[in-house]
Symmetry: D2
Subunit: 149 residues, 4 copies
């Protein structure tokens, strides 16, 4: 339906994780394709796999005294995924100024066509609910450890 | 597709609440009908409307020191609801022995046909996570107040 | 947690619809607030109310030989909605060049604080799955009828 | 919170499939545990894995001229699954008289504790929407092939 498209973001190769799954019946809408809002769940599956692999999941963050609510979400839909398809979510990071985490998600179908690309921006909020104006120490240490800068 | 069916449960008339809404695109599956698992959300919409009307919502229960996890769910599907349909959830209570809440849900379409009927069974768990063996005082008081016994 | 924010988009006053509902238990996440992906469902609730009010729902579009897949989604989260809160989705249109529909959604809490703002961009695809390069006649007629131009 | 419970159903050993996944943030509710309605999605993940393994997925059934709507759902909740937990869905079949498919799902946590058990009952509906009164030939052939009788 649309021409093959090139990704908008360049991924950081050594900070990349792949999550793979089948499209379920409950993911698909009356057109037989994944309902556009369900890609946000696929992004979260990718983000969680990223966190588990690189030591930055909700638990790690919470144990350091923060939660990281999503303040911005963006998604470009390029090709449809149908019920039963296998898809891969490739998750990586984008270098961001200031106290935030920007993750980029690229979802591919079995023919390696980019079907959907998006980002989430998360900020750091301490356990009193206050927005962190500076990047927390634990996150700076993590970035050094994974050689992300 | 199936003959008109009669409800399995007799509702308690004075303890009944009606919640009405449209079937959304994201509620429907590739067959164009509500995905069977989404009726559990419709039941919860009904349960929440019931709680708000009769003074027994999660907040009321929590303020009395309990949560009420669902331990049993049952659902009979009779007729399909399609994307765009208006449906009504009629929620009521079933008299239950012991320390539990049994709610019954009957969902009707615009032609007053019963499309789905189900129940949830909830138990009382105190804030230490312990199952209540006896019906909590606040619930007994509530039952008297609403004349349910 | 964050200062009161002003909307990014100016709504078209005469093409606006309001949808109101309660946040359900199943909308909320382990932090007790609406999970960020569920706002996409709230947007769809708003879009569907808009379509019903202004004569541009999925059925109207389909009967004219088109579907309108979402190709871009964007969402800014400003304030949290909690379980039990009442929210309003105010949906309107943004003037867009070319063959597409851009809807803007502003979600407010009971104190009239903007909690979330987003847009969806939809294109026209005919029933053979081909992208419309020009705005379909029926849509141009609709725009004149509702005085949107 | 509750004592370790024994399964209600005896599984057919050679007709069993296991699906394993992590509990996602969007699966969990304000109590930090999987929202009870989301187990229906886990059941479907199990059912789809069963269908792929044993040659009885939606596509196989559809190609034989049928769909198999769920007409009854039942679920017993025993122990909570928390965000981040790994769970296994073990899916099998129950011998059923007449033209229907009964699947049983047992969900276990990482300690091999049964957390949830349920069944779905599906009937056969042909492409004209008529309920099959007799088990379709293709299904009888399938049952022989997999030695289920």
């Amino acid at each position: 339906m649309r021409k093959r498209s090139t990704p908008k973001y360049k991924l950081v190769d050594h900070l990349t994780t792949t999550y793979e799954a089948h499209v379920s019946f409950h993911d698909a809408d009356p057109l037989g394709i994944v309902w556009h809002g369900n890609y946000v769940k696929f992004f979260e599956k990718g983000r969680e796999a990223f966190g588990r692999k690189h030591g930055l999941d909700y638990g790690d963050i919470y144990n350091n005294g923060y939660s990281t609510p999503v303040v911005h979400l963006e998604c470009d839909y390029k090709v449809s995924l149908r019920y039963g398809d296998v898809y891969r979510v490739v998750t990586s990071m984008v270098l961001a100024a200031g106290a935030k985490i920007i993750l980029v998600y690229q979802i591919f179908n079995e023919s390696d066509i980019l079907v959907c690309e998006g980002t989430t921006t998360q900020v750091f909020v301490n356990l009193d609910g206050e927005l962190a104006l500076y990047s927390p120490d634990f996150y700076e240490i993590w970035k050094k450890k994974v050689n992300f800068n």
